[in-house]
């Protein structure tokens, strides 16, 4: 059964690197309703930046394509972020998620998935070669005493 979110935003943008800053700022602004700490907000911005950069760099290496970004709030102060592309896909997701694994040469460090995993509570990567990739991440924002 699919649980309906209490709130969501959805945006679609071209795979231009100038949109990396836009994407993480958009999600951070949306996440503000959960009253996150500065550290939590930093983690969320970083995870979004990793997923969106992967779509820009790896999904569409020599072309421009479409990226969609969706952020939702669920019961229990849970933020879910979904980044989707329709690019080249990942042949072996398990291997791609290993630290230091990269097909990007010396411009990349192979740490993107590792960072998403450690900064978020959960990371799910679904991909099909030639069809695209969907990255879903969740992070529960703690409700703090003394805050409304």
């Amino acid at each position: 059964m699919k649980v309906r979110p209490n709130n969501y935003i959805a945006v679609e943008f071209m795979s231009r690197s100038a949109n990396e800053g836009f994407a993480r700022t958009a999600v951070a602004a949306f996440a503000a309703q959960l009253d996150p700490t500065l550290d939590e907000l930093g983690d969320i911005r970083t995870a979004v930046s990793e997923a969106v950069t992967n779509a820009i760099v790896h999904a569409y290496p020599d072309s421009l394509g479409k990226i969609s970004l969706r952020a939702s709030v669920f019961d229990g102060n849970v933020l879910e972020i979904v980044v989707r592309d329709w690019g080249r896909g990942i042949e072996n997701v398990e291997k791609a998620r290993e630290p230091l694994y990269t097909t990007g040469g010396e411009d990349r460090s192979g740490m993107g998935f590792t960072i998403m995993e450690s900064f978020m509570d959960s990371l799910c990567v679904r991909s099909r070669l030639g069809k695209g990739t969907v990255v879903t991440m969740k992070r529960r924002i703690a409700q703090r005493a003394g805050r409304k």
Partner: protein, 103 residues
């Protein structure tokens, strides 16, 4: 991304300002390599004090500088690393290899 350099003796200090992501990485690397080629320092200090955001693209920039300094027989140090960038470096295990002014 704003890259400012100042050299004294054999140490080169490079001060970074702005968001160090994939979008900014290329110009940052170009500026950094130009400064390294001109100074050929014994020591490179990367000042992160003005970095308002950094992701894994920044790790690649730092590792590139680290390899370059190693090839020059010199050393690399990071200083004034803000918390957000620090968490990214931590996740990548960078601090075990490159010293920081951080205590």
């Amino acid at each position: 991304m704003e890259v400012r350099t100042s050299a004294n003796d054999r140490a080169l200090t490079v001060t970074l300002r702005g968001e160090l992501d994939h979008h900014a990485a290329r110009e940052t690397v170009t500026a950094l390599e130009r400064a390294l080629d001109a100074a050929l320092p014994r020591k490179l200090i990367l000042d992160f004090g003005g970095v308002t955001f950094m992701d894994s693209s920044g790790i690649a920039v730092v590792m590139r500088a680290f390899r370059r300094m190693t090839a020059l027989g010199g050393s690399l140090e990071l200083c004034n690393v803000p918390p957000q960038a620090g968490r990214v470096f931590d996740a990548a295990g960078i601090f075990s290899r490159i010293p920081t002014g951080r205590t």
